[in-house]
């Protein structure tokens, strides 16, 4: 049965996570995203729960190149369907022009969830088998949940 201690030890030993906080899930390198999901699935986290992307616009004069250019932060959650229902959440950061490896080959549910995050936030997934919008019409321009998308942006006539 997976435990929080085991999850913490895995991230510290194999994925170089040193900072832990109550209010922030652990942050790993984007290249390790798929590998961590694979390891967790083998260890019993077989229930795909969610993926959530949030856009962070660029900050002028920031020292870190990613912060200066703006990035998308992506949190993923997996659950173990066992007695303690252990939940594993981790975050990755990807640049606005970069792609992140898809999890569809591990979790079939990632298909629609990643399509939704592409649709609304504009994060791109490499190797996704069906990279279409999910919620909005195919001819919609822009990604509504980005910070630079005003809530009163005019939308095309409803069909």
């Amino acid at each position: 049965m997976p435990t929080p201690e085991e999850f913490r030890a895995l991230l510290e030993d194999d994925f170089g996570v040193s900072e832990w906080s109550e209010k922030q899930p652990p942050l790993i390198e984007a290249v390790d995203h798929h590998r961590l999901a694979e390891v967790l699935k083998e260890r019993g986290y077989t229930l795909y729960v969610f993926v959530v992307a949030s856009h962070r616009p660029g900050v002028e004069g920031a020292e870190d190149a990613l912060t200066a250019a703006g990035y998308i932060e992506l949190a993923t959650g997996l659950r173990s369907p066992t007695e303690n229902s252990q939940l594993a959440i981790w975050r990755v950061r990807v640049g606005l022009d970069e792609q992140l490896a898809t999890l569809v080959d591990l979790f079939a549910g990632a298909d629609w969830q990643e399509r939704e995050q592409f649709d609304l936030v504009g994060v791109r997934f490499a190797g996704h088998p069906d990279p279409r919008r999910l919620m909005l019409p195919e001819d919609w321009e822009g990604h509504p949940l980005r910070r630079d998308y005003a809530i009163n942006t005019p939308h095309p006539p409803w069909r």
Partner: protein, 408 residues
């Protein structure tokens, strides 16, 4: 990544098709040309789609070879809207997401805000929330059973018999909620730190009377369905969802339990009053439509038992732990993230909230609602191939999707 449906690289598809048995992105160009495939659109306006939902079916005669669901017809941009509103203004908005069980929606979003803001809920409010959630589960499953009766058509006494009966009993529960909150629906009774409306005098007795009456009726409905040979013939062995596929798709709630996974957040990750009472989780091993029906009907009986325990056990005390709300920007979260999940009638309803948004940090920076219905609908491309069009209606009905929640 292009937005057109024409670009469809087949890199990941064959591997998952070998693992899962069905390829949801199946390429039909090499299908037998003699078969003369036909495309049939079910929806977006169709009485059996339980809302505005479109299903594109590729048919070989009467048999489905590929099903492509289209969602988003009810997309209202709730997540974007909540970024503009403050924490205390969010409750009436999420009422309209899962419009069949608004109580659990309110509870989910307020629990997420409480986790982010670090606010405790008093014991009386925790009991009241749990009681409301259990009663809402009965009402929601009754509505599911009634519409499932219509989906089955003539199998259950002309179809509308069960519909009318279940709607009558559901109305009694809504009457009880009206006595507490003043609203039949869209209650707006949960708030950050507790509840707004206290239980009126004599309400507990009315709950007992109503639940006793509903309990006797549910036995009749269980008998009506499991001993009706047409009902059993149309549901047994139809739309089998294997355990591994259900987990991978993120399917939770009664559908997952009907596939033989003994998992329920009420027991396995208890929230509110569930750590003080014991929930008997209902499971079925087969994963077909009949299993899903049986699990839901038994869950209603279990919810009646839990509701009676809870209404008798409500402790005295305050119903809200936070200061009274004087202005909408009262609660602020400059940073931090929280994910809170709870078991609604349809499964795991999660809310991921990130602090530090507009209105001087009194709004969420980003808020994501994890709808169980959307995950349930994503199983359709795997369930439908091999079945006929008439089975489609039964399979879709057995998933109990609510489009307001799936599309948000």
């Amino acid at each position: 990544m292009s937005a057109s449906s024409a670009a469809r690289p087949s890199s990941a598809a064959p591997a998952s098709a070998a693992r899962l048995g069905v390829d949801p992105h199946r390429d039909l160009s090499d299908y037998d040309p003699e078969a003369d495939l036909m495309v049939l659109n079910m929806g977006p306006q169709h009485p059996s789609t339980h809302g505005v939902f479109r299903l594109k079916l590729h048919l070989d005669g009467e048999t489905i070879v590929r099903a492509v669901p289209y969602v988003g017809y009810l997309h209202r941009g709730v997540e974007k809207l909540l970024e503009e509103l403050t924490f205390v203004q969010a409750t009436p908005i999420v009422d309209k997401n899962d419009y069949v069980s608004p109580m659990t929606n309110e509870q989910a979003i307020n629990m997420a805000f409480e986790a982010l803001l670090g606010i405790e809920v008093p014991r009386r409010a925790r009991y009241m929330r749990t009681l409301f959630a259990e009663m809402q589960r009965i009402a929601s499953h009754l509505l599911w059973l009634s519409t499932f009766g219509i989906d089955m058509g003539g199998a259950l006494g002309g179809g509308t018999t069960l519909f009318m009966h279940c709607f009558r009993e559901r109305e009694w529960i809504l009457d009880l909620f009206e006595l507490v909150t003043g609203a039949r629906f869209h209650y707006n009774t949960h708030t950050i730190g507790g509840n707004r409306h206290d239980i009126p005098a004599g309400w507990a007795k009315q709950v007992h009377t109503t639940l006793d009456l509903i309990a006797s009726r549910i036995d009749e409905y269980l008998e009506l369905s499991t001993t009706n040979s047409i009902f059993v013939a149309r549901t047994r062995g139809v739309g089998i969802l294997p355990k591994e596929l259900a987990l991978e798709l993120g399917i939770t709630g009664p559908i997952l339990r009907a596939s033989g996974v003994d998992h329920d957040l009420r027991r396995d990750a208890p929230f509110h009053a569930y750590d003080e009472i014991e929930v008997k989780v209902q499971t079925e091993p087969d994963g077909d439509c009949l299993s899903r029906a049986l699990v839901r009907v038994r869950e209603m009986k279990e919810s009646i038992r839990l509701s009676k325990l809870l209404v008798d056990g409500i402790p005295e005390g305050p119903i809200c732990g936070a200061r009274p709300i004087k202005n909408p920007t009262q609660f602020k979260a400059k940073e931090g993230q929280a994910y809170v999940a709870l078991e609604t009638p349809r499964g795991e309803l999660g809310t991921y909230v990130i602090g530090g948004g507009k209105n001087k940090a009194a709004s969420p920076y980003r808020l994501k609602i994890r709808p169980p219905s959307l995950h349930a609908l994503s199983a359709l491309p795997y369930l439908l191939p091999g079945h006929s069009i008439s089975d489609t209606v039964v399979i879709l009905g057995s998933l109990d999707p609510i489009m307001g929640e799936a599309d948000r």
